[in-house]
């Protein structure tokens, strides 16, 4: 069941087979898989539990309620990058756009060559991806509800000869209300809060909400439980304590919180890699004023993409802005700002996401475990790539017939014709000249690898240093993916669930492949055979 702080009468002390810290893309699937296997599972979630009634189209309020620190988390460095992270049951999946992309082949190859992760084969990942995609109803965005903004942009991009299409999303019967990032009001988006967690609860898992894990209990080099405190959702004061003794501890707090908790607990620090290797996929957004009304923000916010430049590390993905975000992005104040706001119905927007090459980031311990500091310095190459992506976005918007285009580059805030693009292309920009960069995919801070000197977790997801402590969130992804990481995080979570199952069953890792994973593979193979047979019969 889902237990809220007001339902907790006093301090709790209990045991379980598995205790999971975090209920997002990593914690949710593990909770479901293990609970369905019959293990007793306890999930500690720092955020609150919200339902579709709470997702009421109020974007501004959503930031203060569903996001960590009111959505004000930023990276320190040049330029400052806004790094919002969900803090609710379902984690960031509750407030993301639902895009489900598989790992690009060249990135997986890099994992094999540079990180020694040959255990994670393409075939195995594809099976895991299929399982997640089937469970989450992943399919391409429906053009009917993709939104005018996205369709116009895609058409213009294709007109210029750039390849693109509709993004695969974990949404079932989506109506395109346009507010994915503020919680899906119809429940169409199959985020973890409406999929894995309810199924985990059905199978017997207990989810404690507004409960912050503070200490991972370790005895004789083995993780044996977690201690935490409930936080009053209104006053933000700490209330009752909770202590869960468990055979396995899973840390799934995300790539910023997980290393912070390890650092504050002084765990897994000997490799020196905890908190390092941060990548975030810096994103820029370019807006344009068109001649026709676009019905903003109705339509799937992230429904289309342009991947022509993916080999360069540039992915263009759709975005729609609610009025307040558009208001913040306008570089004027007062009367001029209000006049510009009247253009909101005509405003098109599209974003770019950079797969980092030479940027450097890390998470360091802050004043408290709750507030780590995220340091990030964008590299010269990546900065040029950000500029190039902005130029591409602007070029496509002008091709779509934009009257003017707004960019996040100082001195080029408004471009009135394609001629301005040439001017922008000629200059070399400084880090401080770009403002309003955002990032949504922190990764890599507890990276997975085959060498204990250069990684924090083993290919199984278990930490090198603390037995029975597994990490399963985007922090284990060893390099920048170049695509939205939720699907890969979930696929790896299923894989890790297999290893945990094996650990709980047998207490050792003697076999090359764990039983759980083998069963999953067999099931998927059987389903594929039956599907092929059915298709053959139909033909």
């Amino acid at each position: 069941m889902i237990i809220k702080p007001r339902e907790v009468p006093g301090n709790i002390s209990r045991d379980a087979d598995v205790v999971i810290i975090g209920s997002g893309a990593g914690g949710g699937p593990i909770a479901k898989e293990l609970a369905e296997e019959g293990y007793s599972v306890v999930v500690l979630e720092e955020g609150g539990c919200f339902t579709r009634e709470d997702f009421d189209f109020r974007a501004g309020a959503a930031f203060t309620r569903f996001y960590r620190d009111g959505g004000q988390t930023v990276t320190l460095g040049l330029p400052v990058v806004l790094l919002p992270q969900g803090k609710t049951v379902g984690g960031t999946t509750t407030v993301n756009s639902g895009t489900c992309l598989r790992i690009p082949r060249h990135v997986l190859k890099r994992w094999h060559l540079e990180r020694g992760l040959r255990d994670i084969s393409e075939d195995e990942l594809n099976l895991l991806y299929s399982a997640v995609e089937e469970y989450l109803f992943v399919k391409r965005a429906d053009p009917e509800v993709a939104g005018k903004n996205a369709l116009i942009f895609l058409e213009a991009a294709e007109g210029l000869g750039y390849s693109g299409g509709f993004l695969p999303r974990n949404a079932k019967d989506c109506e395109g209300y346009g507010v994915c990032a503020y919680g899906c009001p119809s429940g169409a988006k199959q985020s973890v809060n409406v999929s894995y967690i309810p199924d985990a609860v059905k199978a017997g898992a207990d989810v404690y909400t507004n409960c912050r894990a503070e200490r991972i209990l370790v005895r004789s080099g083995r993780a044996v439980g977690v201690r935490g405190r409930f936080i009053d959702p209104v006053t933000r004061r700490k209330s009752h304590r909770i202590e869960v003794e468990a055979a396995v501890v899973v840390l799934a707090g995300g790539a910023v919180q997980s290393p912070s908790l390890l650092m504050h607990n002084r765990l897994c620090l000997s490799s020196g890699q905890v908190g390092k290797n941060l990548s975030i996929h810096p994103c820029a957004c370019v807006t344009a004023i068109l001649d026709e009304k676009l019905g903003n923000p109705k339509g799937i916010p992230q429904s289309t993409y342009v991947d022509e430049f993916a080999p360069e590390g540039i992915m263009l993905e759709g975005v729609t802005l609610p009025p307040f975000v558009y208001a913040i992005s306008i570089p004027w104040v007062g009367r001029r700002h209000s006049r510009a706001m009247l253009d909101y119905p005509y405003c098109g927007s599209f974003g770019s996401m950079i797969c980092e090459h030479d940027s450097v980031g890390k998470v360091v311990a802050g004043p408290s475990a709750r507030q780590p500091l995220t340091l990030y310095q964008i590299g010269r190459e990546d900065l040029d790539r950000v500029k190039r992506s902005i130029l591409l976005l602007a070029e496509i918007w002008f091709a779509a017939g934009a009257r003017s285009v707004q960019t996040p580059i100082d001195g080029f805030k408004e471009l009135s014709s394609p001629k301005d693009l040439q001017r922008l292309a000629r200059i070399s920009i400084k880090r401080a000249s770009i403002y309003g960069l955002t990032a949504y995919h922190p990764m890599g801070t507890c990276s997975m690898g085959s060498d204990p000197d250069w990684s924090v977790v083993q290919p199984s997801g278990e930490t090198w240093e603390v037995e029975n402590l597994f990490i399963c969130d985007a922090s284990v992804l060893p390099t920048s993916l170049g695509v939205n990481p939720q699907l890969t995080t979930m696929a790896l979570a299923l894989r890790t669930a297999g290893f945990i199952d094996e650990r709980l069953c047998q207490g050792s890792f003697d076999q090359q492949y764990p039983g759980r994973l083998r069963r999953l593979r067999n099931r998927l193979r059987a389903e594929r055979v039956s599907l092929t047979r059915r298709l053959a019969e139909r033909e």
Binding site: D56, F57, A61, T64, Q190, F324, V333, H337
Partner: protein
């Protein structure tokens, strides 16, 4: 510090939002309520930054215009803030951007303002309430 930030946020709102005829006016009560939630749930670092930015804004105004921002006529105050926004220096242009963020978030989060801008939020809310997707 939070109450000071809230008070100043309310005082600054008219310089950031000068509604066009027909556009809903900023509502001080809503601004206060939203600001309260924004600063309570937000990071202490942002509160601190906001506090200092208010002081810096005032200091720059005294230095460059010889008067407190609040003593300037509305249009002149707006022009002063706009001049900071248009600065070549990112640190200077960030001042009004950061100060304006909670003001815009609060104002453009209101249903009447969103409807005025063509986002039929009430109709969509009703439609979504009638529709529930189950697994």
């Amino acid at each position: 510090m939070k109450s000071y930030c809230l008070q100043r946020m309310n005082a600054l709102a008219p310089y950031f939002i000068s509604p066009q005829p027909g556009m809903p006016q900023p509502d001080p009560r809503e601004l206060h309520e939203f600001g309260e939630e924004f600063f309570t749930n937000g990071t202490p670092a942002y509160r601190l930054l906001y506090f200092f930015l208010i002081l810096i804004l005032q200091g720059l105004c005294l230095l460059l215009r010889g008067k407190s921002l609040y003593a300037l006529p509305q249009e002149e105050a707006e022009d002063f803030i706009q001049s900071l926004f248009s600065s070549r220096f990112a640190t200077v242009s960030a001042i009004p951007m950061l100060l304006g963020t909670p003001i815009y978030m609060s104002h453009y989060n209101r249903d009447d303002v969103q409807i005025y801008l063509g986002f039929e939020v009430e109709a969509l809310r009703e439609e979504a309430a009638k529709r529930e997707v189950t697994r």
